[in-house]
């Protein structure tokens, strides 16, 4: 374990610090609240000569990801950051980056997609891009955001994976929330991420190649099947990198962060910063003798279905908390619920009564009182055996 420095950072500046220590070859980015501080801070590092990064200030997020694709194809380590409508604007290029197997690392500071226009936290942005082929990691705190950024580089660039990684943190809540974080020394980050190994370079004129080529209907399907196989191999890589990071820092990372799941008959499943709120409520409930647990997934893509279902082991009732709606999905459910419901079905656990709580859209506050209501509801479901409404809402004026 290496000696770390304790400093105060908000999530955005924590990521910028990680990026400084990684010192990527290229960062092409466009500002958007609540990510702006990530690239704004990073660009001061560039201006001050503290990194060797080629910083490309582009005209839009579509251009940002396009420039990242170009730079990555040229054989460079490439990073960027965005949020909300910025992510939406680069949507087509996300698919291209993943299908071209480019190990780009991007921070997405989760913010609500318009409309109406809203700059505050919800997960509609990254959830809207869940099919693009990127690995999705979620951070609960500035510390996790910092740690995930460093690990994301190793995950993306792993020679058995070579896929882009999107690293999420809650807009404003984590992004602008200052916390005590432990920072690695620069050389420790450099040695953890290692030098970039280019598998292909469009600039290598001695090995001419074509990237971003055309596929007829007789080959596209095979390429997509191969891409699907590639992302399916990410979980063990994420775990291995997380273990190695734990040896370096004392903070080990896996696929989940859990509390009380060993004996839990009820569970709350929630991503990102709200897990902190939920954890305090679950802890109090457990102290009162309630057999309830908390599951905070760290990885959303690929979806760790087998491990998830195993974690829910003895549970009779589960409450998923979704910070986005998949419009038109059954009963207006959210993506985390939908994925987990499919996993329960696939693993023959339809005995578990599972409900979905939509919360926090557009930065609507979520407080312990809301989670206490969820705990009450779970107990009612277990007691009566009646699941009740499939999709519910927390903090909504109904």
């Amino acid at each position: 374990m290496v000696k770390q420095k304790i400093e105060a950072r908000d999530g955005a500046k924590a990521v910028a610090e990680a990026m400084r220590q990684i010192d990527p070859d290229v960062v092409a980015a466009y500002p958007i609240t609540p990510q702006t501080e990530v690239v704004q801070t990073f660009s001061t590092f560039v201006a001050d000569g503290r990194v060797g990064t080629e910083f490309v200030a582009v005209e839009s997020e579509h251009a940002a990801m396009s420039a990242c694709v170009g730079a990555s194809s040229a054989g460079g380590r490439v990073m960027t950051a965005t949020a909300a409508n910025g992510l939406a604007l680069m949507w087509e290029v996300l698919y291209i980056a993943a299908s071209m197997r480019l190990p780009i690392v991007m921070t997405c500071v989760n913010r609500a997609l318009s409309g109406p226009l809203n700059i505050h936290c919800d997960h509609s942005d990254s959830m809207g891009a869940r099919d693009a082929g990127w690995v999705h990691l979620f951070a609960e705190s500035p510390q996790e955001a910092y740690d995930n950024t460093i690990q994301a580089v190793r995950i993306a660039e792993h020679l058995d994976l070579r896929l882009p990684v999107m690293s999420m943190q809650d807009g404003f809540i984590t992004g602008h929330g200052v916390e005590r974080i432990e920072l690695l020394p620069d050389d420790a980050v450099q040695s953890f991420v290692g030098p970039f190994q280019a598998t292909h370079s469009i600039l290598a004129i001695d090995h001419p190649l074509t990237m971003g080529a055309w596929d007829f209907y007789n080959y596209y399907f095979e390429h997509k099947r191969q891409q699907s196989d590639a992302i399916s191999r990410a979980l063990p890589i994420i775990e291995a990198v997380g273990q190695e990071y734990g040896q370096l820092t004392g903070r080990s990372y896996g696929l989940f962060d859990t509390l009380g799941m060993e004996d839990a008959e009820m569970a709350i499943v929630v991503l990102s910063s709200t897990a902190g709120t939920a954890r305090s409520v679950v802890r109090q409930a457990r102290e009162k003798g309630l057999k309830i647990g908390l599951v905070k997934p760290r990885v959303f893509r690929p979806f760790p279905h087998a491990q998830f279902v195993e974690l829910l082991g003895k549970c009779r009732a589960v409450a998923v908390m979704d910070r986005s709606i998949s419009f038109g999905a059954m009963d207006g459910a959210g993506p985390l619920f939908l994925e987990l419901a499919a996993a329960l079905f696939a693993h023959n656990r339809c005995d578990i009564q599972m409900v979905d709580y939509i919360f926090g859209l557009g930065g609507r506050d979520i407080v312990p009182g809301h989670v206490e209501q969820v705990v009450q509801d779970l107990q009612t479901i277990v007691r009566t055996g009646d699941r009740g409404a499939l999709v519910r809402y927390l903090g909504l004026r109904e």
Binding site: S99, M100, R101, L102, R162, H200, H207, P208, L209, T210, M211, G212, A213, D215, N218, Y219, F221, E222, H223, R225, Q226, D229, A230
Partner: protein
């Protein structure tokens, strides 16, 4: 294309083609519905058709027009359009008056 098609495990990851110049193996000439024909005796070898061909499907040798690459000529007709030479006698292939390069139906 009649080559053995690769399975999903065999295709190049990320669609990256590592063999340079491989597009020549695909005969875009099969897409043609008209083809250009040339009268070598009346050609002035001005090279204008060669300059304008978008597919590099006109082959030249020693500063003289040599042949069409019919494997890759898509029959766009630009060469026939830009040819500046009005022939003095009937075209050796079509028997018509007009330019040194003329378009005929592929079928």
């Amino acid at each position: 294309m009649s080559e053995q098609l690769l399975t999903w495990k065999e295709v190049c990851p990320g669609g990256t083609v590592t063999e340079p110049g491989s597009s020549a193996a695909y005969h875009t000439g099969t897409w043609r519905s008209t083809r250009p024909v040339h009268d070598p005796e009346q050609c002035t070898h001005c090279m204008i058709c060669w300059v304008y061909c978008p597919d590099m499907a006109i082959l030249v040798e020693d500063g003289r027009w040599k042949e069409f690459d019919y494997d890759h000529c898509k029959g766009c007709g630009i060469c026939a359009d830009v040819c500046p030479v009005n022939i003095k006698k009937a075209h050796s292939v079509t028997g018509q008056m007009g330019k040194v390069i003329q378009m005929v139906s592929e079928y």
